[in-house]
Every structure is written in structure tokens, then in C-alpha cells.
Amino acid sequence: MTQTFELFSDLFALRNNALSRRDPRAKLLACVAATVAAGLSTRVHLPLAVMAVAMGGMLLVRVPVRLIVARLLPPLGIVALLGLLRTFLIGSTPLGQVALGSWTLTATQEGFHEGVLLLARVLGAVSALILLSLTTPAHRVFAALRWLRVPQVWVETAMLMYRYVFLLLDQTADIFAAQRARLGYAGAARSLRSMGTLGGAVLQRAFDQADRAHEAMMARGYRGEIPFGTLGPTPAGDMLLLGAVLALLAVGLALGEGWLA
């Protein structure tokens, strides 16, 4: 549990550096564009280039390698599984055979190629996402989403959820520690019961907190909607940067796919 809690951190996003100062709209769009480009690419070069650039960015703002690896690893498990499945189930040109008891599995070239491409795409896309997440705090993303016309209710709920997840996390960790200190997690059956209690306790705290948050909002003139400040125009430099990223991705994609030939 503690590991999850540590991973769920925005400390890096809140640091002040060359990348965290960039306009959140530009970063959001650049990240989505990089993912789409990696997804459209049928060769591994562009996705790997995206990954290299993203890694470079993270090292530039001194994100510890350990954190990057910790965030990159989980998606790779499922990719490995999917890659293997595809290698054995798709395609026709045999690459090799594996005997599993009475079964014989045939690996195919097409499947293997597809698997490697998938791996490259995921590496590229996830790297871009990690770069975005480590340089953009949530409230900037919310402001960007509001500017991009995401409905007010959604952004308001997201803001409240974000704020109270941290508060409830602290309380949950306290209850969890108190349970463990009294052997609430000794044995599987007891663990399950303790988990259920923990879940219920968190919910109950949430209900109480909701009433109190509402009162606090009322006392400061809440009229049914949290008002948002407006995000000013994107700085010219950031526009230029976004333009450059988009152009590079387009050129890279066109070159890789042979559209220019």
C-alpha cells in the first residue's frame, strides 16, 4: 500500500523548472500528438525517437531514473503478454516452435514483428505521458481542460476529487497502520475483513468530509458551481515549441511510413 501511495505523488510536477513552466495546453496537446504519432507509426523508429526525446526531457529536469523505471515497468508486463500471444497466434511464416507438453506452439515472424512494434509504441507513448505527468501539476491540467471546453461539472468534480484523495489517503494510511499494529493483517481471512472495514471507514470519512466541504464552500459564497479563473493566451514561445513538436512528429511519421517517397 505504501508503495502505491509513494508512486501517487506530484512532487516533481510542482517543481519549478524549464519544462514545468511551459503552458499546460501546449504540453497536453504535444503529449497526445506524440502518442497518436507513435500509434500511427508502423515502424519502430518514430516511437523509439519519441521515447528518447521524452527520456532526455526527464533527465534534463533531473527526474531520478528509479522513478522513471518504476512508472515504465507496469505497462510492460501486459505488453510482454500481448506480444507473446500475438507471436504464437497471429501470422503464417514460422519462426520457431516451442513444445509445451503435448502442445506445439509455432511462433511466427509477423506476430513477432507486431509484438516488437507494440512494445515500441507503448514505450514511446508511456514515456511521453510520464514526461507530461512529471512536469505538469494537476491544477494546471484542470485549467487546460477547462480552456479546452471540458464541461464545468467534470472539472469541478475532478478538482474536488484530487484535493480530497490526498486528504483521505493520509487518513486511510493512519487507519491501515492502526489496524496492522493490532494484527489486523495477520492471515488472509483477517486481512480481508480488515480491508472491508478500512474501505467502509474511508467511505464514512468521505461522507462526513463532503458535508463539511459543502458548508465551507457555502460560507464563502458558493452558488452551486466552483468558478474558475481564466487561462490567459498561450505564450508565443510555447506556441512555437508546440508547433515545432507537431511539425517534427509529422515529418518523422511521413518519413517512417514512406509517404514522401
Binding site: I90, L118, G124, M161
Partner: protein, 221 residues
């Protein structure tokens, strides 16, 4: 298990987003409407969302896989706030997880909203209501909601993966293989999630019975 950034081809990612949008709009409209007559409602939905988000981060030991896996929590959320708002809070939880843990992704948000939010919430809510309507106890209904919504979520995720990735091969053999790969972890996880839902519902109803009555009234609305 969320579909990670980069796994779905661009076309499929966009298609799932389009499928998710009407459900999101439905949930947003429900929150908005209810918020007008009941000013506390928005804070309530957000806090239940935050709590369920945390519950979904609790690691559950899965003996068959030798590792820890995480519950979805959408079945529980659907019991408490109804399926529409659950789709909304699930979409927010998915965005926060994508941003803070690189768990899931931005372009795969649509696919994940459909499997976890839409299918998970509808199945969980449906199971709870049907069983309660048929006279089952809260515990039985909550267990079914937790377990079935978990399994339905994984079945949908598998289907999304198989549909997108079967390429020239057989859809069914890939789907079957993905499901088989998930079963050893998912079967017990669903049961655990069911038990967790029962525990959470029991705790809330024993400490704050008036709240549960209020909740049941809410989810019928």
C-alpha cells in the same frame, strides 16, 4: 488493469472514446440536475469518488498470481451514487491515475472508461438492484455487485484488446487466450472485490444507518 498508453491503435482508441462520450454526458447531466435541487450533491459525488479511488488503490494479495492486484471499486461506487455519476468519477480517477502513475493513458482513456466506468458501473448497479428487488440481503447484493462488475470490467478489457490486436488472426482465439491469461488472477480478485464491497457496505450501514437509507434512496433516483 487499465489499458496502457500506446497499446490501442489510434482508430480503436478514438472509437472507444466516442462510445464513452454519451455515457459521460449522461452522468454529467445527472450530477448537474441533482446538484441544482440538492446543493450538497456535488461535494458528495466527488468525495465518494475520492474514497472509491483510494479503495481501488488497495493492494489485494492474489495467491494464484503471487502478486498483488487492485480492485476496481466501480461496483461499490455504483451502489452508492448510481451508474451515471460513477462513469464520471471513474473517468476522473482514470485521468488522475494516468497523470500521476502512468497507469492507463490519455488516448486509451476512452477504452478504459468503457470497460471500468460504463460496463463496471452498469453491471454492478444492475446486479445490486436486481438482487435487492428479488429480496436478497444487502450483503448478497453487494457481493454480487463487487464481483460481477470486476469480472465484467476484465472481460470488456480483454475484448477491447482482442478486437484491436487480432490483426489477421482469429479474434476468438486471441480473446480466449487473453481471457485465459487473466483468469487465474481475476477469478479470485473478483471474489475479493465482492467481499470488500460487502465489508464496506456493512461498515457504513452499522455506523451510519441513516446514511445507508439516504444512499439507498439516492441510488433509486
Amino acid at each position: 488493469m487499465h489499458i496502457s498508453e500506446g497499446i490501442l491503435p489510434v482508430g480503436w482508441a478514438g472509437a472507444w472514446l466516442l462510445v464513452a462520450l454519451p455515457f459521460l454526458a449522461w452522468g454529467i447531466r445527472q450530477i448537474k440536475r441533482r446538484g441544482q435541487t440538492e446543493p450538497r450533491y456535488r461535494a458528495f459525488v466527488a468525495l465518494v469518488g475520492a474514497a472509491v479511488f483510494i479503495i481501488s488503490c488497495m493492494p489485494i494479495p492474489v495467491p494464484t498470481a503471487g502478486t498483488c492486484s487492485h480492485p476496481c471499486g466501480t461496483g461499490l461506487a455504483a451502489i452508492l451514487i448510481g451508474p451515471g455519476p460513477t462513469v464520471v468519477v471513474a473517468s476522473i480517477a482514470l485521468l488522475l491515475q494516468a497523470l500521476f502513475m502512468a497507469h492507463g493513458g490519455l488516448t486509451t482513456l476512452g477504452g478504459n472508461i468503457v470497460s471500468m466506468g460504463v460496463v463496471g458501473a452498469l453491471v454492478g448497479f444492475g446486479a445490486f438492484r436486481l438482487l435487492r428487488g428479488a429480496g436478497a440481503s444487502v450483503a448478497v447484493a453487494a457481493f454480487a455487485a463487487g464481483a460481477l462488475s470486476d469480472w465484467a470490467t476484465y472481460a470488456t478489457t480483454s475484448a477491447e484488446l482482442a478486437l484491436a490486436l487480432h490483426g489477421g488472426g482469429s479474434l476468438w482465439s486471441l480473446l480466449g487466450a487473453i481471457m485465459m491469461a487473466f483468469v487465474p488472477t481475476q477469478l479470485p480478485l473478483g471474489i475479493f472485490e465482492g467481499i470488500l464491497s460487502v465489508g464496506a457496505c456493512r461498515f457504513v450501514s452499522s455506523r451510519r444507518p441513516e446514511l445507508v437509507e439516504r444512499l439507498l434512496a439516492r441510488s433509486s433516483g
